[in-house]
């Protein structure tokens, strides 16, 4: 086991836990509520969507479209469609991911 990785994992675990537990000690409503108009509150509220959008873009391979409409592009489109359809029906993130993977797997099964 790599000790530096374990150290990072523990630090990340503590950091993640603190983001979930701190609002129970400190009243952050003033800073974080949707009605707050302070610059910090507005910036902070938008930082989450910005990071998720950035990580979504990061997760897409930039070379995906370099070979035209490949099986990878079609599989990705089918997977995304399944994710969106599941979201419309059940609004459950776990099920959305599962259906996306399942749709992509079925497509791969018939094309690989």
């Amino acid at each position: 086991m790599n000790e530096s990785i374990v150290f990072l994992i523990i630090l990340l675990g503590v950091g993640t836990y603190l983001t979930r537990a701190l609002p129970f000690i400190f009243k952050l409503d003033k800073w974080l509520s949707e009605d707050s108009q302070t610059f910090i509150a507005q910036f902070f509220q938008l930082m989450g969507p910005a990071l998720i959008a950035a990580l979504f873009a990061f997760s897409l391979d930039p070379s995906l479209f370099s070979h035209g409409i490949s099986n990878e592009v079609i599989g990705t489109a089918i997977g995304f469609s399944a994710v969106i359809a599941t979201f419309v029906l059940w609004k459950n993130v776990g099920l959305c991911v599962f259906s996306g993977i399942l749709a992509y797997a079925i497509f791969s099964f018939f094309t690989i």
Binding site: M1, N2, I5, L8, I9, I10, L12, G13, G15, T16, Y17, T19, R20, A21, P23, F24, I25, D29, L32, S33, Q42, L46, M47, G48, P49, A50, L51, I52, A53, A54, L55, F56, A57, F58, S59, L60, P62, E72, G75, G79, F80, V83, I84, F87, W90, K91, N92, V93, G94, L95, C96, V97, F98, G100, I101, L102, Y104, A105, F107, S108
Partner: protein, 238 residues
């Protein structure tokens, strides 16, 4: 005890949704060279799907551990909003009880609990929430362990699963983006909505930087520049 099992029953959709994603996480973690134990430890200690995938994805790209950690902590800041929002529903619980349920407040647990907690009598909420979180947590950790320990075998036998499992990361982030897009769509001016401007600009910055081989810089840039663009160009209450 009845409330605990009621929470556990409510966690069934989470268990079903988490399991294959956790298997995919276990496989992707070991595929970048982490041991089975490391991969399982990540799920055991962190228990945050998007953050774990981002952490492993960044390490795979050669990002330093410290930089990866900073990005992941930034990604986790949204949990502050969750706990702040759910806090009123936990009134009456001791601080110790609140701390014990804080660990399991993932995106999905929060989404499930937020709508349902108000229908549960105050005195029963803690055990109900523990049941809900425990179901999701067990599914996540066991799925990771199975993925990490049998990933190689699974992929050798069912090769078609490899590209599908690699799709878990974009599918996960799209699933997290969709509720934000839907709530922004509800406003009168979709195109001038701050969240929409922030999301689109962040995607452009990150995708462009990734194409130029500067993925980490792109993520940091998007996290800092896009909210500013959203505030400057968008309207909050249309």
């Amino acid at each position: 005890m009845t409330n605990f099992f009621a929470g556990l029953r409510t966690s069934l959709p989470l268990i079903i949704g988490y399991f294959p994603v956790a298997v995919a996480f276990g496989i992707s973690a070991t595929s970048i060279g982490l041991s089975q134990l490391d991969a399982t430890l990540i799920s055991l200690i962190i228990f945050a799907g998007a953050s774990q995938f981002a952490f492993v994805g960044l390490l795979a790209e050669g990002t330093s551990g410290l930089t990866a950690m900073l990005i992941v902590v930034g990604l986790n800041l949204r949990h502050l909003l969750y706990s702040t929002s759910i806090s009123p529903a936990l009134k009456g619980m001791s601080l110790k009880q609140k701390f014990s349920v804080a660990f399991g407040l993932t995106d999905e647990v929060f989404a499930s609990a937020f709508g349902l907690l108000k229908n549960i009598p105050k005195g029963n909420r803690w055990s109900w929430l523990v049941g809900l979180e425990l179901g999701a947590y067990c599914s996540w950790v066991i799925g990771t362990w199975i993925g990490a320990s049998s990933g190689d075998l699974l992929l050798a036998k069912f090769g078609f699963l490899e590209p599908a499992l690699a799709f878990a990361l974009p599918a996960l982030f799209l699933s997290l983006l969709l509720p934000m897009l839907v709530s922004a769509k509800a406003s009168h001016s979709f195109i001038r909505n701050r969240t929409i401007i922030t999301i689109i600009s962040a995607m452009i910055i990150a995708f462009g930087a990734n194409a130029l081989g500067q993925a980490t810089l792109g993520i940091f840039g998007a996290a800092l520049i896009s909210p500013l663009l959203g505030i400057a160009l968008g309207k909050k209450h249309e």
